[in-house]
């Protein structure tokens, strides 16, 4: 079965500092990995995905993520955090072809301090 672990409940970062949100995954075969962001009382917004190819994936709003197969990680990063980046971030994994369900982590609350 596929699963995702997001080890930190909350990440606090000062505005302008680099932001990292951690994610590790477990899946049979090659993973399809995703990051979503959720603002209060809103649905999930797609940020970026890794399917294959370059290990550094660039996404929306200046976010990027690095796929590391040996460490089974897919950490989300942003070089300079904004107050508006404060939200709930979810990592998700999809496994083998034909298994299209997304397995989500429990989420990380990011708080960017002005």
């Amino acid at each position: 079965a596929q699963s995702v672990a997001q080890p930190e409940d909350q990440v606090n970062v000062a505005e302008g500092n680099p932001l990292t949100v951690k994610c590790t995954y477990s899946v049979s075969g090659n993973p399809y990995l995703f990051w979503y962001v959720q603002y209060p009382n809103r649905g999930l917004q797609f940020l970026l995905k890794y399917i294959t190819g370059d290990n550094l994936v660039k996404g929306s709003y200046g976010f990027e993520a690095e796929f590391n197969k040996s460490q089974t990680s897919f950490h989300l990063k942003k070089p300079s955090a904004l107050v508006s980046d404060s939200a709930l971030y979810f990592c998700a994994v999809r496994g083998l072809y034909g298994n299209n369900r997304l397995a989500f982590g429990k989420g990380n609350q990011v708080v960017v301090i002005p």
Partner: protein, 112 residues
Amino acid sequence: DAGVTQSPTHLIKTRGQQVTLRCSPKSGHDTVSWYQQALGQGPQFIFQYYEEEERQRGNFPDRFSGHQFPNYSSELNVNALLLGDSALYLCASSAGQGNEQYFGPGTRLTVT
């Protein structure tokens, strides 16, 4: 281009009742997935519909059922509601079963 839309936004039901939630996918999308997000948790996969058939199902009881219409819109039905069914129900659509899913704003269901 409208994104994924869901109705209603909020719903309050009593234990034992039945509820129907609705979802219209993003234009051009033919696959609809439903997720349940309990408070403080990540979304949990309920099931996925493609070509009007349930293609995959998560670990949810038969009280949860669905339907997909020829125009690709979908309904989620929950029978015999329990207090534990209180959650945000998210609909996601994709162009094909394997592509990234785009989520709607969700329906907040409260069971009292």
